[in-house]
Symmetry: C2
Amino acid sequence: MTGTERTTTPERTTPPPAAYTPTERTVPTRAAQKASYDRELVHSILDEGYVCHLGFVRDGAPVVLPTLYARVGETLYVHGSTGSRPLRMTGQADPGLPVCLTVTHVDALILARSGFHHSINYRSVVVHGTAHQVTDPDERRIALDALVDHVVPGRSRDSRPANGKEFAATAVIRLDLNEVSAKTRTGGVNDEPEDLTLPHWAGVVPLRKGYEPPIPDPDLAPGTELPDYLKTL
Amino acid sequence: MTGTERTTTPERTTPPPAAYTPTERTVPTRAAQKASYDRELVHSILDEGYVCHLGFVRDGAPVVLPTLYARVGETLYVHGSTGSRPLRMTGQADPGLPVCLTVTHVDALILARSGFHHSINYRSVVVHGTAHQVTDPDERRIALDALVDHVVPGRSRDSRPANGKEFAATAVIRLDLNEVSAKTRTGGVNDEPEDLTLPHWAGVVPLRKGYEPPIPDPDLAPGTELPDYLKTL
């Protein structure tokens, strides 16, 4: 989407910019051509995954933990036990907790003739910002549903919602998408021209993706069929 | 391996302990039953992957970047351009760069009858420590070969080693495995007993793993066959 195209849709009075604004820390010091700030690309990478690596600083040292996330518009939600460290830390300080949230998909191995040009095809998004605890109950409900639906679209409507005790035990933090960049590597092998005659096999090895057939819980209520949204997962 | 077993092998004068020593920051504040310090489990999780998320602190804020890693004994190696941020930062300070290196494998979706008990089967390792630039050329060569072989065992012997220019452009950092923990979730659905009669499908959806068939580079030298180590990848 270009700026020119957006001006032809005047009914959208506040169209979202097509790209995030680069900042000093979202411009890489190298391989800058792999970086992108395109909003649709960022959204597509975020929406394809559901496990992120959340970084924060504790006692001056970095901590990186894997956790589930979901995107709702320009906000990411992460949840956890009210007793877990990052969730407690966002609650302790009004200004919020500085975090870096990173999502990475590995797509293929790139096997070059030279060791140096071995690589990985990948797509990643790095989000810098400040995480805040969500206190509004309505927003927390929306976030919890989104976290389930982000993994399996349609699932939240086909499961029991959190009861009062469960709801109280679950903290939700939000991180707005402002300082964001994507980085991707696609394509094939990039060997040096003089290496092309070397006798080493070179090429691309794509990763397998997707899911194996679902395994029903042994205690499934009689007559419970596999829902359509799982047949097409 | 237990302590008793180790005393029966006196020929190993300095047997490695079977477990890493827990520290304040490797003991989780919740779900402590999922944490393990078992050395073999940690090694198996590290050896199954090759992409980690490396966290460090820059200008007081966390940064989390995906990168390749390899394990050699009790050391992890990460490499990158000498111009990349974490690599430059380890070189700037003699004391090294405090990092947190995390590796996560997602194994299955756990779809419970209640939203609250939805989960993921996963295995992760979190390493806290100080990263140092590797300056010894022999150790750097070993690390670069290990980084290639960690992704595709046997590959370093079937590719051109780095030449002088490539070698000079590649920085290697090391992180020793001292402060380490693993965390895993295995098994099936853990719904509340009173939810078992709900009409929602529940069960386990395993992730597909492995690789698609290798795609040869179009410029492959004539007669170059797919090597055995790729047929069994």
